[in-house]
């Protein structure tokens, strides 16, 4: 139509122009035409109500539309206006006929000179139309009215309000309007068709399986032709997204024929339903002609989707007796360690770190190493008494040294602007794989597959001599490596304190932690009589050593499971394949130790080749998103955590329990198995309608790291209980949960809920009542 008009304009002279305009409107009654958006008296837009038929038969379908003609440089807006502007609106009032949804031709994209503001709309001329159906009972004439509301902008914007009306006679036949028909057909050709109808297929693959509220996302969008035809070239602004609730800044970047990189961002406010990627795609160029496709594919569920159940209908007003029963001082449930927060002093932090480090020895992750050390020590006491002190020093040195290294890594990362937490390195699949391999190598060493540190030729009968100083130091390092995922009681606070403080404090706290970890072994050395009480060495030691090897393999099982959470089933398979290769390489190495000359070197080369080859092939981990329910499998009705979801639950009057956890955190798993999944706890949760959220820190999550830091923690576990009546004062439970501490905390939170939902200002808190 635009072309036809311009051709006509060229053909016609200036004088002819006004005449032509009159002719074009000759068929239209004055009420069907209006102009608006006066700019210093000059209207910027002219609208006309067009119908594609001059007469309509009852029951027949016809088309009605509003044609906009805009002054040069001025535009109106598409259904998604973009960063500013306002959707053009046409309200139909058509007694005797029904009008369908408005059809939008493909819009143009407008940018401010600096590209900061991007909008979508129409300039020049456009017909927004709809299909209409005359009622089967229609008689006489059909009344058609359109109330048009548009924002007309050049640099500045002027709202336009227009009312257009006309009538169409009802007759025995539907007669097309030869004048208007081409206008409708041209507009129809510019309206996007559903992808399937156009002989194409689209596929969307997001990098993550979920969108996270407030976070950007990316993916790959592919377009293929189902009829085997080549994909046409594209012109600038080929994709215009519709307004997608909860999703912003959607963009497609062409990477190759039919292949696009998708970018977007999930808004902090997330809709409950899964958002869909909607928009229009314009294929072709001005030279080849365009055709537009309507894209409508599911995007991905949003992690922060509010999944809380319906709010309780009646908030039970607690009786005085109930309230009094619920009043228990919070302190006994939350020892100093949990509540000290960042207000604690350095001395206290160092003490906590030291004690926490000592307690780490009892944690399931470190215990095998300690046992190993004790075993080696037993032998040493008898054989090389003079060197016991040196070994103890080496062990402690290994521990403190690697603690300092860890502190250095923390400082380095923090200097880079990121926040990290205790155990953060277990969020890296490569790290987990490496630690698993080291454990397997240790175990195979204990099984006698190979020996460490001595010349192979003299090895045969001297396996036990392998206990060098370096070995002791190495065991110290391993103890640290394994200790990190076990955040012992007291430790969380101390490390949290350190992470929030200056470099010196970080180093001091980590040193104290290391000394604490080395303590039990050093005590054995420093207390003279103690060492003598250890059992005598003998044949039992060889057996015990091999049993310890299995303990290490058991730890590996746990690490492989952690890997499952990080990189999915594929990741587990890869790390297991790698471990088999490590076993094979180690075995070949062990064989080489008994060989000589060229054969030995060949074997060593083979062992190295197996290790490196397997490593290169297997150690590639996708960040495959683990199933959402994984971390929470042991706890019923768990929902993925987000600030928004928590806020929504609180707003609905529900007490909230947040479990900050990670797969590699054994303390967390222990609490989940022994306390959180207990019937009493579940019953309490159900009774008080507690919303249970799991904040899974198995993989990096800056939001969770930030929340931990807020409560003076640098690692998991952390348990928060929030009350709808005092949402800003969460209670932090101790790292080691008990059924009573959880149930009591939940009761307190519930007792502090608003008593009257319609008047949220009336809040009755148990804490505010006098103590019994």
């Amino acid at each position: 139509m635009k072309h036809t008009v311009s051709k006509r304009l060229v053909a016609a002279g200036g004088l002819f122009l006004s005449l032509l305009a009159t002719v074009a409107h000759a068929a239209l009654p004055p009420s069907a035409v209006a102009s608006s958006a006066p700019d210093e008296g000059d209207p910027r837009v002219e609208a006309a109500l067009l119908v594609d038929s001059t007469q309509v038969k009852p029951g027949d379908t016809f088309r009605v539309g509003v044609r906009f003609r805009l002054d040069p440089g001025w535009h109106i807006y598409w259904k998604n206006p973009g960063d500013s502007g306002l959707e053009t609106e046409v309200d139909w009032d058509t007694p005797g006929s029904t009008v369908g949804p408005l059809q939008w031709p493909f819009p143009s994209t407008f940018r401010t000179p600096d590209g900061f503001i991007v909008t979508h709309g129409y300039e020049g001329e456009v017909l927004l139309f709809a299909d209409a159906t005359a009622s089967a009972q229609a008689q006489g004439t059909l009344q058609l009215s359109a109330a048009v509301n548009a924002l007309v902008c050049e640099v500045h914007c002027i709202p336009a309000d227009m009312m257009l009306t006309r009538t169409i006679p009802v007759g025995p036949e539907t007669l097309p309007d030869a004048e208007a028909l081409p206008t409708f057909d041209a507009a129809r050709a510019r309206v996007p068709r559903p992808v399937e109808d156009s002989g194409h297929a689209v596929k969307l693959e997001l990098d993550a399986k979920q969108l996270t509220a407030g976070q950007p996302f990316a993916g790959t969008f592919t377009l293929t032709s189902t009829r085997g035809a080549a994909l046409p070239a594209l012109e600038k602004d080929f994709f215009v997204p519709e307004r997608i609730p909860g999703v912003d800044a959607v963009r497609l970047k062409e990477q190759g024929p039919g292949r696009f990189a998708l970018e977007g961002k999930a808004e902090p406010d997330v809709p409950e339903a899964e958002p869909r990627l909607k928009g229009v795609l314009r294929l072709g160029t001005a030279a080849t002609g365009f055709h537009a496709l309507a894209v409508d594919v599911p995007l991905a569920p949003v992690v922060a989707a509010v999944g809380v159940g319906p709010a309780p209908v009646v908030a039970k007003a607690p009786s005085i007796k109930d309230s009094l029963a619920a009043v228990k001082p919070a302190a006994p449930a939350a020892p100093a360690a949990a509540s000290a927060g960042s207000s604690m002093g350095l001395g206290m932090a160092l003490l906590f770190a030291f004690l926490g480090g000592a307690l780490l020895n009892l944690m399931p992750c470190v215990f095998p190493v300690l046992a190993l050390k004790a075993y080696g020590f037993t032998r040493m006491v008898k054989q090389e008494q003079g060197r016991v002190g040196a070994h103890a020093a080496a062990y402690a040195g290994g521990i403190v040294g690697s603690m300092l290294l860890l502190a250095g890594a923390v400082l380095a990362v923090r200097a880079g602007g990121a926040s990290v937490g205790w155990g953060f390195q277990f969020q890296e699949p490569l790290f987990v794989a490496t630690v698993s391999a080291v454990l397997v190598v240790f175990a195979l060493n204990l099984f006698g597959v190979f020996t460490v540190g001595l010349d192979g030729t003299s090895l045969a009968g001297r396996v036990d001599q392998s206990h060098g100083l370096l070995h002791s130091a190495g065991e110290g390092v391993l103890a640290v490596v394994l200790a990190t995922p076990c955040s012992a009681p007291l430790l969380g606070t101390a490390v949290g304190f350190a992470f929030a403080a200056g470099p010196f404090t970080v180093l001091a706290v980590f040193t104290a932690l290391g000394l604490g970890l080395a303590l039990p072994f050093c005590v054995l050395v420093l207390v003279p009589g103690l060492a003598k009480r250890l059992p005598k060495p003998g044949a039992w030691m060889e057996r015990f050593k091999q049993v310890l090897g299995f303990a290490l393999l058991g730890t590996t099982v746990w690490l492989v499971w952690v890997m499952g959470g990080l990189a999915g089933v594929d990741g587990m398979a890869r790390v297991l394949a790698f471990l088999v290769a490590v076993g094979l390489g180690t075995w070949v190495y062990g064989q080489a130790q008994t060989q000589e000359g060229g054969r030995r070197w060949a074997s060593l080369a083979a062992a190295a080749a197996v290790l490196v080859g397997a490593g290169v092939v297997t150690l590639r981990f996708d960040d495959a998103a683990p199933a959402a329910a994984r971390a929470s499998s042991s706890v019923a009705q768990a929902q993925p955590w987000s600030d928004e979801a928590v806020a929504a639950a609180l707003a609905a009057g529900q007490p909230v329990f947040v479990d900050f956890t990670a797969d590699w955190c054994l303390t967390c798993k222990f609490n989940e198995r022994t306390v959180l999944s207990r019937e009493e706890v579940r019953a309490a949760f159900t009774e008080h309608q507690v919303a249970f959220f799991v904040a899974d820190w198995t993989r990096r999550d800056a939001r969770i790291t930030a929340r931990l830091a807020e409560h003076g923690r640098a690692g998991v576990p952390m348990y928060l209980v929030l009350s709808p009546g005092a949402a800003d004062k969460p209670e932090v439970l101790p790292e080691l949960l008990t059924v009573d501490s959880v149930v009591d905390a939940v009761k307190r939170a519930s007792a502090c809920s608003p008593t009257n939902r319609t008047d949220g200002s009336k809040v009755l808190c148990a804490a505010g009542l006098p103590k019994p």
């Binding site: 900061f116 503001i117 914007c157 002027i158 490496t434």
Partner: protein, 195 residues
Amino acid sequence: MKQVLTALTLGAVFVSAPAFADAEVGKPAPAFTLKDEAGKEHSLSQYKGKVVVLEWTNPECPFVKRHYEADTMANTLKGFDAKKVVWLAVDSTAHNTPEKSAAWKKSEGFTYPVLQDASGTTGKAYGAKTTPHMYVIDEQGVVRYAGAIDDDPRGKSDKKVNHVKTAVDALLGGKPVPASTTTPYGCSVKYKAAS
């Protein structure tokens, strides 16, 4: 052991820092220091401890005109505790001048300052795209609301919801903001063209 240490260092390197642009709900608001129409300086930091409402404005925009005719902003502000809430209008229009702001302020009869941002630096830091475009910043300086003034782009609704009022009331009441992002509507901000 070397492997372990290497991996540990690598692991540390992989923890990357997220980068943010624009004022985002839940994130600290971009800092600014701007002069108002009378030449007095205002910094966001000086209002710490108070809820700050930022109103991107342009007296020439029909949407802004409509809201000032209806006294939308004044009525919204009137509902707040003056000791706890600060209202700042910001004009990022390239051709705006303090004199124009002063004249407008006088003719409309309001008292809050109109911050002069003709360079558009602050507007772009916030990602302000329309007039009016509203931001609510809490006592700690964290953005808690970004979007439209209300849910009535066309000015025709009888039962409009004032999003800014809802957000500020929620903040003062210690409750979460129910709709923390909405789509702003209105004219585009007339930023200075990039040179």
